[in-house]
Symmetry: C2
């Protein structure tokens, strides 16, 4: 089988349309494709024609589509954390960290949705754990508490972001149908069978929105309340 992943700077041959392929170019084109034409636009065949090459040429650079998706995810993580420096306020710093992770995921929802549950123990994650645990230590938590609380924090952030990304990664029709359900199907709920739903009927539209910041802020409030006094 000729499928192998080459190192950089091997000899290249331009495609029929004159493009020089590379892992970097392929990853960037994949991100562009997703960004321009929606999540469902990422297929080997479409990627091939966007690059002006035969679809099978991509298998010279990635073992399979999954391999390609992971490469894309790696790029996203790097971009999201780039240039982040925690400040003196540990609550505010954790908050910014949360928002950065989320923004990175939402910028490329489909790739994030596909890779979010995959755990890549790499340098970027190393640095993130170091930063997060360091912030909780600076808040005065003992090491064992700091680790447990960091885990609760980062799992909340990651899982919420992944969920949001997964929603965005749905085909438009399904996503919009899910959102409209709250302002349509749920509005017709029988008042007697569902008294609570009936009471909040006018507010159900909020269900279609994101709960990310609400959840993170609630969690951070609980952390601040549990912290040894006067550390913020």
């Amino acid at each position: 089988m000729p499928t192998r992943v080459p190192q950089e700077n091997r000899r290249r041959r331009p495609t029929r349309s004159g493009v020089l392929l590379s892992q970097g170019l392929i990853v960037e084109t994949a991100l562009r494709l997703i960004g321009e034409h929606g999540p469902e636009a990422l297929s080997v065949r479409r990627l091939g024609s966007a690059l002006g090459c035969d679809p099978s040429a991509l298998y010279r650079y990635f073992r399979n589509t999954d391999d390609l998706v992971l490469a894309v995810a790696d790029r996203i993580i790097g971009d999201a954390m780039e240039g982040f420096n925690p400040g003196p306020d540990w609550v505010a710093s954790l908050r910014e960290m949360a928002l950065r992770v989320r923004a990175g995921y939402l910028a490329h929802p489909r790739a994030a949705a596909m890779a979010s549950y995959r755990v890549t123990r790499r340098e970027n994650e190393f640095r993130a754990v170091e930063t997060g645990v360091g912030l909780l230590l600076s808040a005065g938590f003992a090491p064992d508490r700091a680790v447990r609380l960091y885990l609760a924090f980062i799992d909340t952030v990651l899982s919420h972001a992944a969920m949001e990304a997964a929603c965005l990664a749905l085909p438009r029709q399904q996503r919009e149908a899910d959102q409209q359900a709250w302002t349509e199907v749920y509005q017709t709920a029988d008042s007697e069978a569902y008294p609570a739903l009936s009471t909040v009927r006018g507010e159900l539209h909020a269900m279609a929105e994101s709960s990310f910041e609400e959840a993170v802020d609630l969690l951070l409030a609980a952390l601040a309340a549990h912290a040894p006094a006067g550390q913020r």
Copy 2:
């Protein structure tokens, strides 16, 4: 087009292999298929042959694959919430609801991973939302706050549960490798480059455990702190 979703108790014809189709049977078979062979094993064609019928027969019961997936998700919710009755203590009741949803997801990890972020728009979800919102109303929150806070609560529960389920759905080797990373790779972190990691080195094993209860309890603590006085 002959594609329509029938009500229950319409007349039936046995398939060529003698099975009587029904929405319930199809959903159960789908759950079994996913549980045995993973989410990617769920295709209309495979489901058809597992049921002993032509793939296109399924379109008499579900509009399309997405419709089927939503039905599967709703079944999981229903199984998890079966027999649950909220008590007078709204915090304790929300806590039990969280643990039930989690248990339901962990019982079908692979199906849960693919359905967690969907709005099923079906009866079991209806009842769950009714129960949760009702508990927050009983705590004294105004309707708009109750809806927002319920969303933050249920999203935290669902996304955490989905993340756990996704980890469980990984092949054993990969899952164990991820867990061991905390007691192996992370132990070798350079003390100077990663001072915080170095400080908590002996506690990192906790990272391989679940943060579900910790996160839910932190969130519930924040909710209790925000609640109008004396309602618990």
